[in-house]
């Protein structure tokens, strides 16, 4: 039904020309008219800050919102490893087509060709842009840019700034934004929690915001709304994401009519520090650049109690190197993660809780010396030591996979517009580009591609014909009704008077989602999740204990709204995972695997993006399919042997 709802608006023409043709065919907004348009940008991470700054430079009036106390604190700041770009500075055979091909293949043929090709095309511009802003990328002695190779790629196309690439890219975007704030082109609202999107006559026209300092709820109007609100990994409670990352803005957009695509595509990062106890609040990622030099193993004998340094090579099971001789420790994330799970599940795990595998640097230290290792990975080794109290220069680290990134998100067309006209989604909160699995160093690339080089063009195509059509007036009931609903919903938590903390319910939810919709999924498990989640949600709504007031800072109250939305999202994830009777990328259904335990795709029946529409409360999402057609690559089974 309603096929028009999922028109991806992919331009005609050969793949390599689509973006240029499209840019030429888009309506332009005359420079003097740009200031007549007000654009709302929610989120100041890489995607949001770059979009807000670029739109303001073009002349649009921009209002930017973040719940953080400063735009610089967005979760993008935590990215460590690097950013990809098809510069071919290393002369090792990289090209736009190769980056495109690797991304499509890495995504297990579940992404849209045209978007991915454009991403690869603009990737080179990103590096130019960031270098011009003063991002201190790593350099060779001659002063030119350095590169490293990164999980899943056989060329060196990753640019980096020590182990703090996300921080430096975000500071570049934040500073560009700050310049526009100072110039009066961007009105920046910090500590502002966006709790709803306002839609009138089918078009997005504003947002509802709760001031986190005063608790005041009010609406903001705009000609278009851009969501850049990041991913939803925290639905698992424990993840590598910052504590406050959440799905609320995207979820509320879903409830207003925006399709949510591929919610079950989540990524598990293979190199994190294994979880400790109940009190653990988050998991810490160790950049996967470590896999370039570290060797992953477990003892061959399950009962081998010797300390790792004393176990000889013959008694070590280098499972990735043995199973995948050509890629070895550099297989893509999903493959590395699943293999770690297999060895741990079979009882071969290491560490006090037997929930990890070794990542060993002894060979590199012997080959290159401790100093060389320190220069390359010093900050990561320090971080490991600080958290575990163990010295990784003396004994191998212990690692285990953790939830890290969500490929699913708001469905967007080629213009990055959701199914609600005027509502755009950029960065991790949309579903584009990475298919069922994201390659390392490609999220930063996508966030900045969207924000600097795609949205600023495509939004013009939406706005141009709307000149002289202001959003509804401030006193339109559509705003007051949305404000009242948000204020009610927020206050309701204080009236529950329950017995258990919001965190308790979040932890319980995380356990269900991790057990049944995590690294491996099965029909039985997903059905169990689908019966447990609604029950937990009801209990949460009836029993959450939130103290304090709605008229000022109240962290538990903020969290209650977020966990409530996670509860609904979790159900949709399980629904999606259950319906997708195949394994692809990060989605591994135990029923669908090869005899060797590799993912078994079903292209005949599932070569589509699954986009869900909100059907009203407490009912399963209504599924629409966007077929994926591959004209420039032939889907093959990924093999990293």
């Amino acid at each position: 039904m309603n096929a028009a709802a999922l028109d991806a608006s992919v331009p005609e023409g050969p793949l390599a020309d689509k973006w240029d043709n499209h840019k030429f065919s888009l309506d332009l907004v005359n420079p003097n008219n740009k200031r007549r348009f007000e654009v709302i940008v929610v989120g100041t991470g890489l995607a949001g800050a770059s979009a807000a700054a670029s739109l303001a430079e073009l002349g649009y009036r921009v209002k930017a919102f973040t719940f953080h106390d400063s735009a610089r604190r967005a979760h993008s700041i935590a990215a460590q490893g690097g950013i990809n770009a098809a510069k071919n500075y290393r002369n090792d055979g990289d090209s736009v087509f190769r980056l495109f091909y690797d991304t499509i293949k890495g995504g297990d043929y579940r992404s849209r060709e045209a978007n991915v090709y454009r991403l690869a095309q603009v990737s080179a511009n990103i590096i130019d842009q960031c270098a011009a802003q003063g991002v201190p990328f790593a350099r060779e002695y001659g002063g030119l840019l350095a590169n490293r190779s990164f999980g899943g790629a056989q060329v060196s196309r990753t640019f980096y700034a020590r182990g703090q690439t996300g921080q430096q890219l975000l500071l570049g975007a934040y500073q560009a934004l700050a310049a526009q704030v100072a110039a009066g082109k961007v009105a920046l609202h910090t500590r502002s929690d966006v709790l709803d999107v306002v839609v009138k006559d089918g078009e997005a026209c504003g947002i509802v915001v709760r001031d986190l300092l005063t608790g005041e709820v009010r609406a903001h109007r705009g000609h278009a709304v851009v969501l850049a609100t990041g991913g939803y990994s925290n639905v698992y409670y424990l993840s590598t994401n910052a504590m406050n990352c959440n799905v609320t803005a995207a979820w509320r957009a879903y409830r207003r009519g925006a399709a949510f695509a591929n919610p079950c595509y989540t990524q598990i990062h293979p190199t994190c520090i294994p979880a400790g106890d109940e009190f653990q609040s988050k998991l810490t990622l160790m950049s996967e650049s470590l896999r370039n030099d570290g060797r992953i193993w477990v003892p061959r004998r399950m009962d081998d109690a010797r300390s790792p340094e004393t176990i000889g090579d013959a008694d070590r099971y280098y499972y990735l190197e043995e199973k995948y001789p050509s890629f070895g420790n550099l297989v893509p994330r999903d493959v590395a993660s699943r293999n770690a799970k297999t060895v741990v599940d079979s009882g071969m795990g290491v560490g006090p809780l037997r929930n990890g595998v070794y990542l060993d640097f002894a060979d590199v230290v012997a080959r290159d010396g401790e100093q060389a290792v320190r220069e390359k990975y010093g900050n990561l080794f320090d971080m490991y030591q600080r958290i575990t109290g163990e010295d990784p220069y003396r004994a191998p680290m212990r690692i285990y996979p953790a939830v890290h990134y969500t490929m699913g998100g708001l469905w967007v067309d080629y213009n990055l517009m959701t199914t609600i006209p005027g509502l755009f989604a950029v960065g991790e909160c949309n579903f584009s580009d990475h298919g069922a699995n994201r390659l390392g160093a490609s999220a930063l690339m996508q966030g900045l591609a969207d924000g600097y080089f795609v949205l600023p063009y495509t939004i013009g195509g939406y706005l141009a014909p709307r000149l002289g059509r202001p959003p509804p007036p401030a006193d339109d009931p559509v705003f007051s009704e949305a404000v009242a609903a948000v204020a009610d919903r927020t206050r309701r938590w204080l009236a529950v008077g329950g017995t258990r903390s919001v965190d308790h319910y979040h932890r319980e939810l995380g356990r269900i989602v991790w057990d049944h919709c995590g690294m491996a999924r099965s029909r039985a498990g997903l059905e169990k999740a689908l019966s447990e989640i609604p029950a937990l949600r009801e209990e949460f709504r009836a029993d959450a204990k939130v103290l304090g007031t709605a008229d000022g800072v109240n962290q538990a109250l903020e969290k209650a709204n977020r966990v409530d939305d996670f509860m609904e999202l979790a159900e949709l994830m399980a629904q999606d995972a259950l319906h997708r009777e195949e394994s692809c990328g990060g989605h591994f259904r135990t029923e669908h695997q090869t005899p060797e335990g590799e993912a078994l795709r079903d292209d005949d029946n599932f070569a589509y993006a699954a986009a869900y529409f909100w059907p009203g409360p407490d009912r399963p999402g209504r599924l629409e399919r966007e077929p994926l057609e591959f004209e420039s690559v032939t889907p093959t089974r990924r093999s990293y042997k």
Binding site: H68, A176, T190, S501, V553
Partner: protein, 257 residues
């Protein structure tokens, strides 16, 4: 390492910016030594909630020392006793069983208390907005390798750019000066070839905006002791040198115009 600690906490409670504040004494028993400092506060908060007492408000997000959101005074020291460690990276194994721990917000006139341990550090954003950037509108950049950056300059810039904007330097300073934060931004941008055109303008604007909000530096060096990223005092020396030069150069440029 494992085991648990029994601690006595004195935690600052304050309802809002204007409200009076006071210490609340909390017995924290059985705290796992492997917990981080913020996880310890999580545990305490769950217990307070059980007793019907509103949990302690504290700022945090990444919990891995990079976002700069966290930061409290722990026994009078910004970010606590460990060198080069943000509050969120501090672990309870740094404390001993039976310790009394005093937990307060960062204290500085320009960082008003928002609630309990949470403060407002917007003054830092004002400094960056004054010119802590290189103007490079999107789309205008040349190929990145057209402007080589000597490795030493890139490394120097990166050392400075590592600042996470946490404000511990201000909290640690007897004068509540923000020299280290400001110098870190100038150190990042002023040595790069891309940063030269705006160097003098930027320096003057940043320093003068800083002075509007913060106290003056009298070279105590406490900032560096507290800094979780070990930003070097050498950057303050660069700030001072560049500021003197900037005054002269900007005056000349203005006279010529």
């Amino acid at each position: 390492m494992s085991g648990t600690l029994d601690l006595r906490l004195r935690i600052w409670r304050q309802d809002g910016p204007g409200a009076p504040g006071a210490f609340q004494d909390v017995e924290a028993r059985g705290i796992p030594a492997d917990a981080s400092f913020l996880e310890m506060l999580d545990i305490v908060n769950e217990r307070l909630l059980d007793e019907g007492i509103e949990p302690v408000t504290f700022a945090h997000d990444c919990r891995e020392g990079i976002c700069g959101t966290c930061g409290v005074m722990i026994n009078g020291r910004a970010h606590g006793p460990e060198r080069a460690t943000a509050t969120c990276q501090l672990h309870m194994r740094s404390f001993a069983d039976g310790d009394e721990i005093v937990v307060e917000p960062f204290r500085a006139a320009s960082f008003p208390v928002v609630k309990d341990l949470m403060v407002d550090r917007q003054a830092f954003d004002r400094i960056i907005e004054a010119g802590g950037y290189i103007s490079a509108p999107t789309g205008s950049a040349p190929d990145a390798n057209e402007t080589p950056v000597p490795k030493e300059a890139a490394d120097f810039a990166m050392d400075a750019a590592a600042c996470i904007g946490c404000g511990a330097c201000v909290a640690a300073c007897p004068n509540s000066a923000a020299q280290l934060f400001t110098a870190a931004k100038l150190g990042h941008l002023n040595v790069l070839p891309q940063g030269q055109p705006e160097r003098w303008r930027r320096t003057e604007a940043l320093v003068e905006t800083m002075e509007e909000f913060f106290g003056s530096c009298t070279n105590h060096g406490e900032c560096r002791e507290a800094c979780p990223k070990e930003i070097s005092l050498d950057f303050i020396a660069l700030l001072n040198r560049d500021y003197l030069k900037a005054k002269v150069k900007n005056r000349r440029l203005a006279a010529r115009a």
